[in-house]
């Protein structure tokens, strides 16, 4: 192992790992405190299939609920995401940044680099999981709730190994191809599809086995928090890690390394082709750079296509899937009082609206739109500063306010386009599943989804404009979104804290139940006002400070 490569790789992500572990741990304490006020017996009365869907363990105590929401949902996604970013940048990232050649001008081997970076990933994820475990043990003591019959150690071990599966998958693909985008894209897709398969398919009567294809099944299906470690399933995960690691060693040694590069897109190929050159020059060339807003939209069209496809296709399959929901679950929900349904996020499975809300609008939609808008917002000002292009841009006769307004227009158009994709997918899915759900309600919820995204995009823009630090802006925005989500879903569970839920933008997104009621105009006005305020304050925040770099 190469000591300095290992040390640098650890140092690069140490802060991110610590922040991730401490935030998840802190949110766990927070949710335990909130849950303490709640009579959780209602969860124990839910049918098993629904508890499965909501990730509520059978022995639904306060601690189990909090662990389920924080560790099994947020924590596991955060740690897998962290591992993927380490894995994808380990080899492919150094190649695309042009630093691999410099590294290999020293007496080190390619395999040595892969081994050192792999060890760094294992060390960091291990450290993070250890911290999570420690906080997971301390959280119930601090909040005074019982953890009888729960095994946080088994859960964090499974969580760490699960993260390494996706990290090593990204490492192997990156090492074999030199393409960082492909490495993280494939790993994230395998993870998300596996997660959705594991949470959706077991609900159906005869498609449950499909979930076993995906690694996620071997993390979650044995419920390590309740049942302890299932060594057989853990062995499967470790097996995937080992195979990926060997794949990375073979892959990196077998091919020519790439120089620093920007990658070739389909548009580039069409532009280079004699027959399509003329038309493509107009579309991909002249038009794309006609103004700042259009160029910004073009820069993020890849992300828009990916997030748009995700919500479109998921919306499409959720409709027909409703037909597979067991009848007894539907019947059960039909008898639940409204107040109880509100407490489980409006997921009244007795109605197609409730099903769509649970599957599409409560998590998937917000994640997709916030990923899009937060990265557009964070990079709008701060990204150009970090890349060193802002000075060049501002040497032209444009004000800083004009740059912000153009980038805001681009973000608005993209968020609304994603809303349209969400609407079309859900609407077509509802048709396919022959569900009685109003197009107006879907359109209203999709519109308010776009506005929710713009609020967080506006936050990222303002933080980026104030600091010039894109990663700080996107991290802070992601943290704000997670807190806002939990404020909206958790605080209503406690009578004392319930009034505070209006502090969350999520309250103005789904709180008025747009799927059933159509556009909720006062909520739309609040979301729009938040977004415009954030965009407007970005102008003085940016104008009054020195450009970075």
């Amino acid at each position: 192992m190469l000591h300095s490569v290992f040390t640098k790789a650890v140092r690069d992500r140490l802060v991110a790992t610590l922040v991730a572990a401490v935030s998840v741990g802190a949110l766990t304490v927070f949710s335990m405190v909130v849950y303490r006020d709640v009579d959780v017996s209602l969860y124990q009365n839910l049918p098993p299939a629904l508890r499965e869907l909501m990730g509520i363990p059978d022995a639904a105590g306060v601690a189990a609920l909090a662990y389920g929401a924080m560790y099994d949902f947020i924590g596991v996604l955060v740690f897998a995401g962290l591992a993927i970013s380490m894995g994808a940048s380990a080899v492919a990232g150094e190649e695309q940044d042009g630093t691999m050649g410099l590294l290999l001008s020293n007496p080190v081997s390619r395999r040595g680099i892969v081994i050192s970076k792999s060890m760094a990933m294992v060390a960091l994820i291990g450290l993070g999981a250890l911290l999570l475990w420690a906080l997971g043990v301390l959280a119930p003591r601090w909040s005074g709730v019982s953890v009888e019959g729960l095994d946080p150690g088994a859960m964090t071990l499974a969580l760490g190994v699960n993260a390494l599966v996706y990290g090593f998958l990204a490492l192997a693909i990156g090492a074999a191809t030199g393409n960082r985008g492909a490495a993280s894209g494939v790993a994230i897709t395998v993870m998300i599809v596996g997660y959705l398969a594991e949470s959706l398919l077991p609900l159906t009567e005869n498609l449950g086995w499909v979930a076993e294809i995906f690694p996620w099944h071997y993390y979650n299906s044995s419920r390590p928090l309740i049942n302890g470690i299932d060594w057989g399933q853990l062995a499967v995960l470790i097996g995937i890690v080992v195979v990926s690691f060997v794949g990375a060693l073979v892959g990196v040694a077998a091919r020519d390394l790439k120089e620093k590069s920007v990658g070739v897109t389909l548009a580039d190929r069409l532009r280079a082709n004699r027959r399509t050159r003329k038309i493509m020059e107009r579309i991909a060339g002249g038009a794309r750079v006609s103004r700042i807003s259009v160029k910004t939209m073009s820069d993020f069209q890849g992300l828009l296509v990916v997030t748009g496809m995700v919500v479109f296709y998921l919306g499409l399959i959720v409709g027909p899937l409703y037909g597979f929901v067991p009848q007894d679950l539907v019947d059960f929900f039909a008898q639940l009082p409204d107040v109880l349904i509100a407490m489980v996020g409006g997921a009244n499975m007795a109605t197609p609206e409730g099903f769509y809300q649970a599957e599409m609008f409560s998590i998937t939609g917000p994640v997709a739109v916030i990923v899009l808008t937060a990265s557009m917002g964070a990079k709008a000002i701060a990204g150009e500063e970090e890349n060193g292009t802002m000075g060049l841009l501002l040497s032209n006769p444009v004000t800083r306010g004009h740059v912000i307004s153009e980038k805001t227009v681009a973000m608005t158009i993209h968020a609304l386009t994603l809303g349209v994709a969400m609407f079309l997918g859900c609407w077509l899915g509802a048709r396919l599943g022959r569900l009685d759900i109003s197009a107006g309600g879907l359109a209203a919820a999709s519109t308010q989804l776009a506005l929710l995204g713009l609020v967080f995009g506006g936050l990222a823009l303002a933080v980026g404009a104030a600091t010039g630090r894109p990663r700080f802006a996107s991290t802070l925005t992601a943290a704000a979104a997670v807190v806002a989500y939990f404020v909206w879903t958790f605080l209503p569970l406690s009578e004392r804290l319930e009034p505070w839920a209006v502090l969350s933008p999520f309250h103005f997104y789904l709180g008025g139940d747009p799927l059933r009621n159509g556009l909720v105009w006062d909520h739309i006005a609040v979301l729009a006002a938040m977004f415009l305020t954030l965009a407007l304050v970005s102008v003085p925040l940016f104008s009054r400070r020195d450009l970075r770099g």
Binding site: V262, V289, R291, K295, G388, M390, S395, N396, V398, T399
Partner: protein
Amino acid sequence: MDAILTERLTKHYGEVQALVDLDLQVGMGEVFGFLGPNGAGKTTMIRTILDLVHPTSGRATVVGLDSHADAVEIRRHIGYLPSDLSMYPNLTGRDMITYFANLRGGVDKSYVDDLANRLQADLGRKVGDLSSGNRQKVGIILAFMSRPEVLIMDEPSTGLDPLMQREFQAMMREVAADGRTVFLSSHTLSEVQRVADRVGIIRRGHLVDVESVEDLRSKALRTVELHFDGPVEASVFEAVPGARDVQVSNQHVTLSFDGQMGTLLRAATQHYTLLDIHTQEADLEEIFLQYYRTE
């Protein structure tokens, strides 16, 4: 009207004094060389007059317009090539030019083609795939393309091959001949010497001297080589006022000299038989080193 005028321009970054009471006047129709070692404040000065950073105190004008209040108007009159040029890697050179031409307006396409031909720039490839020299050519075209009244160039020759450097220097002289101004911050002293009319020298944020290149050179030490018919003593030459760094190698003497040539010749011929003499005016590099050797 001055192309660039600064009055007690000062910029502090916390404890660091990047610029201190900088008074500078650059006229229209000249190439002004701006010299200084790394970290002397050259780029800070440029970023301040472009309103990319705000001065702590003092003010600057460009073509008579205030650098902060009229920042946008100023940008219509300038072309800027940043040091350590960054561009959008996924755009081609032509896309870059179109983008900035759209923001600027009034860019003559045939002039862009002329510039690209002169610099032999490849505008069809993505700038992220270009070598640093070829990327620099795109940056030079971006700065020149609107025929701005003031061109601000921060280390412009980085990565250019010697032939291209010549071409680029000719382009700068043409700008000045056209009555426009070039503000050239550079480490390539031979280039500054070749194209600049005047130079300003900055050290630790202070402007220490502004002179014409000719005056600077005539004031500076020149190198004198003397050749005699037999061995000579160094002490004879060290005693001459204005002589420094005397080096004697048998019948040859080499020294730096800023005194009166008659005194030196008298000393040389009084004791020995002088066979040959060769004098060389100091170039900018030596002057530059003299300024900074004292640091």
